[in-house]
Structures are given as structure tokens and as C-alpha cells.
């Protein structure tokens, strides 16, 4: 609990409407996009400018009160879950686009600006901001930086870390950090990379300068059906081996296809095991060449049906099914739990087979949606939270899927972040000395562990308690490393 004295000092820093403490005002902030994790915040601060952010941080630092930063609250890993006795610092009122420089192709924006709003504002100049997480109509750029958000266009256009130039951020003791600049590199360590994906653990961002790209002249999509998931997986590698880097390359399995088709009638073939959506974009002539190459490769890879979208309307229709896959799967069961592992693409058949086997063991169906181009797998575990024990079962199953991804040479999170949700699996992915270095990085910025404490990096003793220093098939993780 926060002391009345602290709360009264906090209220002095902000106008009345910027501090929420009544129970009914706090409830909307009890979870982020992962609603299975809830905790009512003690107090919510909604600063309206940068100096208020700095003042709040200084006050919290002086009183050793923790701070959890939150953007639009669309995160999927409980990264913005309120922490007991902490201030929930909501940055959504910092929502101004400060400046767009069309010639230098940059936009300088406050952290609460929505991802899509940047592209909308830049459209008049023929420019856009490339990373497009599926929540882009709602998620904000500050959260995108905190999570290093991706989207369906990552393989070609990169993640958030590849598309930002400069940050203004504040340390917990209220010092301004100006990280990056208006050129393409900076002297010293790459703190821009370190800040990106740091899940609000290092500093609080108040301004982001992003790169803008010229809008591609043209985009075209091919839809291909396969009677075997392994063939579809191989086709992905074959497209890349043919020298094409698609703008988007998505795969859905049978259950996901059926759910999507029933929901939005995208025109998907139903009697197939996998669908691939391959979009190429760029200069007009290049798209014409690439689309032919993609068509030929898909045919040679054993696609049972191939359709090239003939119009923009048809392109959007093909995409509609994929984009609605999550809500569509949501119609199949009262709840679903979305996982976010990444694997080397070649391991896809093996991983999907094992997920299928575990699905039978746990008695919970799984629909698989896959950013196939970059190996990012989103298995959606179907369950009913109202049945006793089902949520715990779904979580246990999900944890096993993530450990499977690590075993396959991948990672527990491709784009959603660790937050609180995957903190146990961090023990499976990293050895204790590596986790210790993560704590060191945190301590370099926040020695008192006041920013988003308890998230993203597990305490070493917790790994031991969870028994999660996993020994897979008799092998310790990373046996090649000498241990001292």
C-alpha cells in the first residue's frame, strides 16, 4: 500500500483529473491485453507532459516507490500488470505527433501516439512507419519500443529496433537520457538497442523519433493451399531460396483456416492442412517479377491450389481471414491462450507434430497461426476458464510449447515480450550467468529495481524454486558452455 503522505505529494505534481485512486477508476487498468493476469493498481498517474513524468519519477525514487509504465495496454505478456505498492504510470495522454520531416523521412512523436496514427499522418508525404503489430490501430509507439514489436512485415522491414532513430527517456532518478540522434549511428554503446524491448525496466520513454519509408508502389498477394503442413513449411524456405523476400508470409493450420473461413468468408479452401499467404511489395516491375517466381515455387513445392489476388479488393479479402484469425478462433471456445515462440523454420513440421501430440495429452485443442517468414509461431490454445483447473492446464501446456521452441533452437518470445507471463520459461532459455548479466544491465540503469520490478527477468533463486532449469532429454540447456 502507498502511504497517504506519498499520495498527497503525488497529487501535488499533477492536476486532479490526472491521478486516479477511486476503486472504480482503477479497475480498467488492472490488466493489459493478457487478461488472465489481473491486479488492481494502488494508484494511476496520467501525466500530460514530460516534466510531470520526470517529477513523478523523482518523487517515486525519493520514496523508493516502484513505477510500472503503461502505454495503450494492448501488451500480451502481462508486462504492464500493476505491481502492489507501485505507481502505474500511464503515458497515453502524451499523444502528440511533434514533427514529421518528409525530406529526412522521420517522425518525432510522444509515446502515447498510436502506431497506425504515425502512418496516417505520414501518408500525405507518400511515407509510412513499417512495423505493424496486429494491434496497430490501438497500440502506442512507446509500448512498441518497450516490447520491440514486430508484425506481419518483419522479415522484409524489420522490427521496432530497426525502425527507430532517437529516444528521449528518463531514468528512475529523473535524469534525461537522449539516446540516438538524427543520423544513423551514435558514439558509444548501442543503448538504443538495449532500450528497445526492455519492457519498461530501464527507463521511461517520453519521445520517439521513428524512420519513415516510402510507401511501396504496389503490393500483391498469393494464396496457396497444401495437403500437408510440412510441404507448406518447405515452400516457405523455397520462396526464400529463390531470392524473394516477401513483405508478408503467413501460414495457418487446418483449425485456424476453418475458424477464419467460418468467421469472415475469405474464400479459403477448407479441405486442406495448411494455407500460405505470400505478399510481395515494392516497385511495380519488381512485384510483377516476384509474383511469378512465387507462383512457380509454390507449384513446384506441391501446393494443391494457388490463387493470385487479381484486385486490391481480393487482396484485402485474402488478408481478412488471416487478420481475423484470433477473433475467429475465439469463437471456437470461451477462451484462448496465445503463445509466441519463434523457431528455425526448418523445425516447423517437428514442432507442429509435437504440439499436436501435447494437445491430445492435455485434452486442449490448438489452432496454429504462423508468421512463417520469420519463424514466429502463435499457437492458440482453446480452453474454458470457467471450468475448474482449465486455465492452469492451458498455462502449463503453453509453457511446454515455449520450452519446445527453445529445444528446437528458437526462443520463448518472438514479439510479445516476457512480462510476467513467460518469466518462468526464461529459466529454460538462459543459463544463470546470463540471467545474472540481465540483472546487471537493469542495475546499470535502475540500481534500486524500482522500474517494473519482478518482470521480464526471473530472480535466480526463483528458477530453482520453479524447477525450471530444465534438463531436456538428460541434457542440461547449453551443455557446450563450461560451467564454473
Amino acid at each position: 500500500m502507498l502511504s497517504p503522505a506519498f499520495l498527497s505529494q503525488l497529487r501535488k505534481l499533477l492536476p486532479d483529473h490526472c491521478v486516479l485512486h477511486a476503486r472504480e477508476d482503477l479497475v480498467p487498468f488492472e490488466s493489459d491485453g493478457l487478461s488472465a493476469y489481473r491486479n488492481t493498481p494502488d494508484v494511476v498517474a496520467l501525466p500530460e507532459n514530460e516534466s510531470q513524468v520526470a517529477a513523478i519519477l523523482r518523487l517515486c525514487h525519493a520514496n523508493q516507490v516502484a513505477v510500472v509504465a503503461r502505454g495503450a495496454g494492448t501488451g500480451l505478456a502481462a508486462g504492464a500488470l500493476p505491481v502492489d505498492g507501485a505507481v502505474l504510470l500511464v503515458l497515453s495522454k502524451l499523444n502528440q505527433i511533434r514533427h514529421i520531416d518528409p525530406l529526412a523521412r522521420t517522425a518525432t512523436v510522444q509515446p502515447g501516439v498510436r502506431n497506425l496514427a504515425i502512418s496516417e499522418a505520414a501518408a500525405v508525404h507518400g511515407l509510412y512507419y513499417a512495423p505493424d503489430p496486429s494491434s496497430q490501430i490501438a497500440c502506442s509507439i512507446g509500448g512498441n519500443v518497450a516490447e520491440n514489436s514486430g508484425g506481419v512485415h518483419c522479415l522484409k522491414y524489420g522490427l521496432t529496433v530497426h525502425n527507430i532513430l532517437k529516444l528521449r527517456a528518463w531514468t528512475i532518478d529523473g535524469q534525461l537520457l537522449e539516446i540516438g540522434n538524427d543520423t544513423l549511428d551514435s558514439p558509444g554503446y548501442d543503448l538504443l538497442a538495449l532500450m528497445t524491448g526492455s519492457e519498461g525496466m530501464l527507463a521511461v520513454i517520453t519521445e520517439v523519433t521513428v524512420k519513415l519509408l516510402p510507401r511501396p508502389q504496389r503490393a500483391q498477394v498469393v494464396l496457396a493451399a497444401f495437403d500437408d503442413v510440412a510441404k507448406a513449411g518447405a515452400a516457405v524456405g523455397n520462396i526464400i531460396a529463390a531470392g524473394v523476400i516477401p513483405a508478408g508470409l503467413e501460414m495457418m493450420d487446418r483449425l485456424a483456416i476453418q475458424a477464419a473461413e467460418a468467421f469472415v468468408h475469405a474464400g479459403y479452401q477448407l479441405d486442406c492442412e495448411a494455407l500460405l499467404l505470400c505478399e510481395v511489395d515494392g516497385v511495380n516491375e519488381e512485384v510483377s517479377d516476384d509474383i511469378l517466381t512465387v507462383h512457380d515455387v509454390l507449384a513446384a513445392s506441391g501446393a494443391t491450389e494457388i490463387h493470385t489476388a487479381e484486385s486490391e479488393e481480393q487482396r484485402l479479402k485474402f488478408w481478412a481471414g488471416r487478420k481475423a484469425a484470433f477473433p475467429a478462433v475465439g469463437r471456437l471456445a470461451p477462451d484462448y491462450y496465445c503463445m509466441d515462440g519463434t523457431i528455425p523454420r526448418a523445425r516447423l513440421p517437428h514442432v507442429l507434430k509435437r504440439i499436436g501430440e501435447m494437445s491430445a495429452e492435455y485434452g486442449l485443442p490448438v489452432a496454429n497461426v504462423f508468421h512463417a517468414g520469420d519463424g514466429n509461431l502463435h499457437p492458440l490454445i482453446l480452453f474454458d476458464a470457467n471450468l475448474p483447473g482449465e486455465l492452469a492446464k492451458a498455462e502449463a501446456f503453453g509453457g511446454k510449447i515455449l520450452e519446445l521452441c527453445v529445444e528446437a533452437g528458437g526462443t520463448i518470445t518472438g514479439e510479445h515480450g516476457v512480462g510476467l507471463e513467460k518469466i518462468r520459461q526464461m529459466c529454460a532459455q538462459f543459463a544463470p550467468p546470463e540471467l545474472a548479466r540481465f540483472h546487471d544491465v537493469k542495475a546499470a540503469f535502475d540500481p534500486d529495481t524500482l522500474l517494473n520490478p519482478g518482470k521480464a527477468v526471473p530472480e535466480l533463486h526463483r528458477c530453482a524454486e520453479w524447477g525450471a532449469m530444465h534438463v531436456h532429454g538428460g541434457q542440461l540447456a547449453h551443455p557446450e558452455l563450461p560451467r564454473f
Partner: protein, 376 residues
């Protein structure tokens, strides 16, 4: 093999012995002067894994960059950040290496060494990128994972071999450009990309102001740009992509077709033209739209206007102020570094973070002491 490096660093840590990490020595000139026992990485050699269809290559740090690029080329792939090789000391070569004959071509052969010494580890530790950088990304953008040994002799692994990975802080990218001051890189995983099917280079006679404007204007249009350069009244632009796209762009932009384009870009990448022989050679990184700096020396402009090279005897402070005003920073690239170091001084809050990170990864400051920053 790795154990030997671990032992060596553990002993150096225990004895407080400074180490100088060296690969092929091709970038010994870069950064501040630093002293210590040489720890050479060339024994850590070999490609560990390369899956062309995954677009991922993993190799040990001492592997020659040239070997990696040759392997990638066999599969029509490349390191898209076009890393500089520079010259370096010649590798010991068991085969007789015929000296270039005087006369025709001799100068070129000397200036663009066929067998460069640059290693993968040095390439990532220096974090330098070549002409394709503004259009494809920097060395750090392609780093997927590293294995490293920190300053206490602890082997560590960060990142991985997959393109999307947000588990833990991005320590592998932090290693790119850290000049070995946070740890010895022992292995690197990189994202690689297909080689463009076609490439062509065009030249335009333009003054500096017009060239800078064109570089920026074209970058905002859907054109397959892959490199830009301006020097002595000549704007040079490379286009890469599908043949049809390159032809269409060429028809649109006009200009004179450059015959020996590959050599032109390689010489620029490796600074193998007389312009770059002058000392002190400064690198001013600025906002790409910055108008001509007019600092009294001839400039060579790269990276769509974001990098301005010049040999200048002006005081470091003058050059640093000019770069800072233009949204960037100035580094002494070749020559004797000023007293405050080769790289632009860090703001106090950032310097504190640098000290803290260095202290955590290399508590006794034994790794490349002073190379990145005179203090550590």
C-alpha cells in the same frame, strides 16, 4: 579451443592484465590507442552453421569475412550491411603470392587487396557498415545472437539464430560497436539476405547542395536505391533489385552509366582511394538533409547524406560542434586522436550508464581498455 580463451581471460582478470583483442588487425587504426597483451581470435575459425533457407549464418569470431562472403555468394546471398574489409596486415600465406607488376593495374591491386584479413568478430565488434547501410541496415541490425566471454572469463550466450527474439535485453546488439570493451565475441549469428538479381550504378554531375537534396528526395520515393556517394561534383547512385525494377529506375533517373561500378563501391567501402589517405581523417555523421558543412576541406559524402568524410586540421571541438549542430557526431577515424578521444564525448547521464555497463561486464577494465572511451 574456447576453454583456452576462457582461461586466458580469467587469468588476465585475476592478474589485472589488460588485453588487446585482435582479429585480422584490419581495423587496428580505429578507436583510441590502447595497450596490453594481444589476444588474437583467429584460432576461433569456421562457419558453425549456415542455412540459406533460414537466412541465418553462424560462424566463429576469427573466421575471415572474405570466407563468409564467398560462402554466401555460392548461395546467391550476402551480408547486406556491406561491411568494410580495409587492408590490414597480409595473412601468412603458404602459397607464393606474386607481387603486382609495375604499370597497368598495379595501383588498383595494391589498393584493393584480394585477400582481406578482416574477421567476423572484428566486423561486429567495430560495428562498421558499408555503402548499402542506409538502405539495408547496419551491422547491428543483422546481429541475431552472440556467444561471448565477459571480462571475468564467463562464457555467455545472448540472442539466438532466429529473426524475431525479444527474450531478455538485447545484449547481442549491444556488443556490436562496443569495440570489444564488454566482452570477447567468440561466435556470431547473422541474418543474411539474397543478393539482388541486378545492380547498376549511375553518375550525375551535380554540386553538393543539389546532390544532398537528390539523395534525400529519391530515398523518399519507391526507388531501389542501394548506395549513394558524392565527391568532387559527381553524385553516384547504385540501384539494386529485380532487373525490371533497376531498368525502370534507371530510365526514370537518367544519368551516366558507370562501367566499373563494383570496383568503385568496393574502393569506397574499403577507403582505398587517395582521398582517404589524408590525415587526420574525420567522419561526421549528420542528419542526412544537412546542407554542405563548408568546413574548408573537400568532402566525400556517403549514406544518403548522413556521413561526410573530410581530412581537416580544424580543432576537434570545431568539427564536433558542427556535427552536433547537424544532429549527429564527429569521430576521428584515421590519424591521431584528440585528448578527449576519437569518438564524440558522451553526455554525463549517458557516460554514467556506460561506466555502469562496463563495470558489470568487465569489472577490472581489462578488455580493450580505453579503445572506445579514454576513461574505460
Amino acid at each position: 579451443m574456447l576453454t583456452e580463451f576462457v582461461d586466458r581471460i580469467r587469468s588476465a582478470h585475476a592478474a589485472n592484465t589488460p588485453l588487446v583483442i585482435q582479429g585480422g588487425g584490419s581495423k587496428d587504426f580505429y578507436g583510441n590507442a590502447h595497450e596490453g597483451e594481444v589476444l588474437n581470435t583467429r584460432a576461433l575459425t569456421g562457419v558453425v552453421d549456415y542455412q540459406p533457407k533460414e537466412l541465418v549464418l553462424t560462424a566463429q569470431a576469427g573466421t575471415p569475412l572474405a570466407e563468409i562472403e564467398a560462402l554466401l555468394a555460392e548461395h546467391e546471398q550476402m551480408l547486406a550491411f556491406e561491411p568494410p574489409h580495409f587492408g590490414g596486415n597480409p595473412l601468412p600465406n603458404p602459397l607464393p603470392n606474386p607481387l603486382p607488376q609495375a604499370g597497368e593495374g598495379a595501383n588498383d591491386a595494391l589498393r584493393a587487396p584480394k585477400s582481406s584479413n578482416a574477421t567476423l568478430g572484428g566486423c561486429i565488434a567495430a560495428g562498421l557498415s558499408g555503402p548499402r547501410r542506409p538502405y539495408a541496415g547496419a551491422a547491428r541490425d543483422f546481429v541475431l545472437g552472440v556467444r561471448m566471454i565477459d571480462g571475468t572469463g564467463q562464457p555467455l550466450r545472448f540472442g539466438g539464430q532466429v529473426i524475431k527474439n525479444v527474450a531478455g535485453y538485447d545484449v547481442s546488439r549491444l556488443m556490436a560497436g562496443a569495440l570489444g570493451t564488454l566482452g570477447l565475441i567468440t561466435e556470431v549469428s547473422l541474418k543474411v539476405l539474397p543478393k539482388p538479381a541486378a545492380e547498376t550504378t549511375l553518375q550525375f554531375e551535380l554540386d553538393e547542395t543539389a546532390a544532398i537534396e537528390n539523395m534525400n528526395r529519391w530515398a523518399g520515393q519507391p526507388l531501389p536505391l542501394s548506395a549513394t556517394s558524392w565527391h568532387a561534383g559527381l553524385l553516384t547512385v547504385r540501384l539494386s533489385g529485380a532487373e525490371s525494377a533497376v531498368h525502370a529506375a534507371q530510365a526514370r533517373l537518367g544519368g551516366e552509366w558507370l562501367h566499373d561500378a563494383a570496383a568503385f563501391w568496393q574502393r569506397l567501402r574499403d577507403q582505398a582511394t587517395p582521398f582517404f589517405d589524408k590525415r587526420p581523417l574525420w567522419r561526421l555523421a549528420v542528419k542526412p538533409t544537412t546542407p554542405p558543412l563548408n568546413l574548408g576541406s573537400a568532402e566525400w559524402i556517403e549514406w544518403g547524406g548522413a556521413v561526410r568524410w573530410l581530412a581537416s586540421d580544424l580543432p576537434a571541438a570545431t568539427l564536433r560542434d558542427a556535427a552536433k549542430t547537424a544532429g549527429g557526431h564527429a569521430a576521428l577515424f584515421r590519424g591521431t586522436a584528440p585528448v578527449d578521444g576519437a569518438f564524440a564525448p558522451l553526455a554525463p547521464a549517458l557516460l554514467t550508464l556506460h561506466r555502469n555497463l562496463k563495470q558489470r561486464f568487465d569489472p577490472k577494465g581489462i578488455l580493450n581498455r580505453g579503445r572506445l572511451h579514454p576513461e574505460f
